[in-house]
């Protein structure tokens, strides 16, 4: 699958955050979006991932304009995963219930194996405030991966983690990328660049440079 953005512009109020961005991303790649704070990384990631509708411009997934898709929620559930800087686990649900929240029927049996693969199988009944930051983020990653999406978008996924846990998360991304799931990650952390196939450098709402490896 290829994601194509064409002339994206997005305003927050009167402030123009994305200034005519056009780019193409292959869903089986490990793409990293870098840039200073306020450069538009998170907004670009949100727009590319269908979470935020841009003020103007279009997004195509395999030549299909996503704003013409009948049910974007179903499309998102089937094809896209998300990992956020703050884990955003729902506090009153156990880790297992969080991961299962939007699981498709055909993947219900995969919840426990996936938790095992991510090293959190012993935490199924624990709540997010009962586990460590690294464990929370692993649960959030499991939630993003449970429906075997084609691509996962991650916004500063290691922003709240120490170096050891951050590298653990990158290794997990690489492991799942090798299984065919693509990643688009917005990050400040330079260590992630070692894992990237493609680096998109943002500056003041523009794409300054795209580097393919």
């Amino acid at each position: 699958m290829t994601i194509e953005a064409n002339d994206l512009e997005h305003y927050y109020g009167t402030e123009l955050i994305l200034k005519g961005i056009s780019l193409s991303i292959k869903s089986d790649s490990f793409t990293v979006i870098v840039g200073e704070s306020g450069s538009g990384k998170t907004t670009l990631l949100s727009v590319l991932s269908t979470l935020l509708r841009p003020t103007s411009g279009s997004i195509r997934y395999d030549d299909k304009n996503i704003y013409n898709i009948d049910n974007i929620d179903i499309f998102r559930r089937n094809s896209i995963g998300f990992v956020f800087q703050f884990h955003y686990l729902i506090s009153y649900l156990s880790l297992r219930e969080n991961i299962s929240l939007a699981v498709l029927d055909k993947y219900k049996h995969s919840v426990d194996p996936l938790m095992n693969q991510l090293g959190i199988s012993h935490l199924t009944k624990r709540y997010s405030d009962e586990v460590s930051g690294g464990e929370r983020q692993r649960a959030a990653i499991a939630r993003a991966l449970i429906n075997r999406p084609k691509i996962v978008f991650a916004d500063e996924p290691t922003g709240n983690l120490d170096t050891k846990n951050a590298i653990g998360v990158y290794e997990l991304f690489r492991q799942f990328r090798n299984e065919g799931i693509g990643f688009v990650v917005a990050s400040h952390d330079k260590k992630i660049l070692e894992y990237a196939d493609c680096i998109i450098e943002m500056e003041d709402g523009h794409v300054k440079q795209i580097t393919q490896r």
Binding site: G81, Y88, L101, A102, N147
Partner: protein, 359 residues
Amino acid sequence: MVIALKALSKNKFKTTLIFISMVISIMAIFLISAIADGVVGMYSAMLKTDGDIVVTQKGVADTFFSDINRSIGQSIAKIQGVKSISSLVLGAAPVNKLPIVGIYGVSQNRFNSYKLKSGHYPKAGEVLLGYKIYQTLNQPSFVNISKKIFRVSGTFESKIGFEDGGVVMNIDEAGDIFHKNASILLVSVKNIQDGLSITKKINAISNEIEAKTADSFIDSYNQFKIIKTSSDVISILALTMGVIGIVSMMSMVVNDRKAEFGIMRSIGLSSWGIINELLIETIIIAIVAYIVAFGASELVLDLIKQVDKFQGYINGEITFALALKVGIVSLLMALLGAFMPAIYASRIDPMSLIQRGES
């Protein structure tokens, strides 16, 4: 369902506020409807006792103001199909310490519709007391009605609160008190199918009277219309207040949980999924609130029955039909109250919800 219960448990304070708001609204609807139905039901039952046809003064809206000559009953008795006729003077007057009590002056042939508990049916200068008023007045031997003293001949028991809290006497003596010959005539017919044709024949006797079948009389009785309309208006206001309460609280709940709904949307739960989630939560509260309101209303109605001050005149009962109606109204209240906040939550871009919600 499990998720909804956990969400409600997590947001205890606001859940409790929504719950209290709903209980009060549902109780208000239960109580006003039960009391209004009770008043109408009691009076209807009283009229229907040996009364298939009700005869009143023509053009008078209230039976208490009706004044007819009971000699007209002799002409009615000649109509084929008429079984019996009883006459009543209906009035209200102070009795001992009680400021207002229902007084029923009745013809001799109606006495046996009052089930004696003690003593005998009243003769001249005597009255029969309903058991409730007998107890309220501390079992008196004599009572003072409109400055006249009457001996208490006995007591009777009636499920009709107006009768149980009232005084029965001979029609002539009641006529002297209220300055009328009779308020109404109650006509019993041999075959109820003939009711309508007999009614027409009664109306043909005199243009000063108006006869209606009991059901038709009850349907058109202005006092009942006023009571029912008042009850409906208060019920609608209670429903509206309940809906506004839920909308307010659910709007706050949605605001508090924006991040949560944003996450749900981002991982693929549909807008309808979010709406559904909020509706289920509100319906759960509504069901529990309904059960609690039902129990509390039964308790309040029972307490009201025990209060001497009301003399048994307020005798509400929650019938199956009322319980069903209020159950449907409660669900409607929950759905109306939760729908707008839920729609609002479901229509915002998930990213906006996440960024504006709590982390």
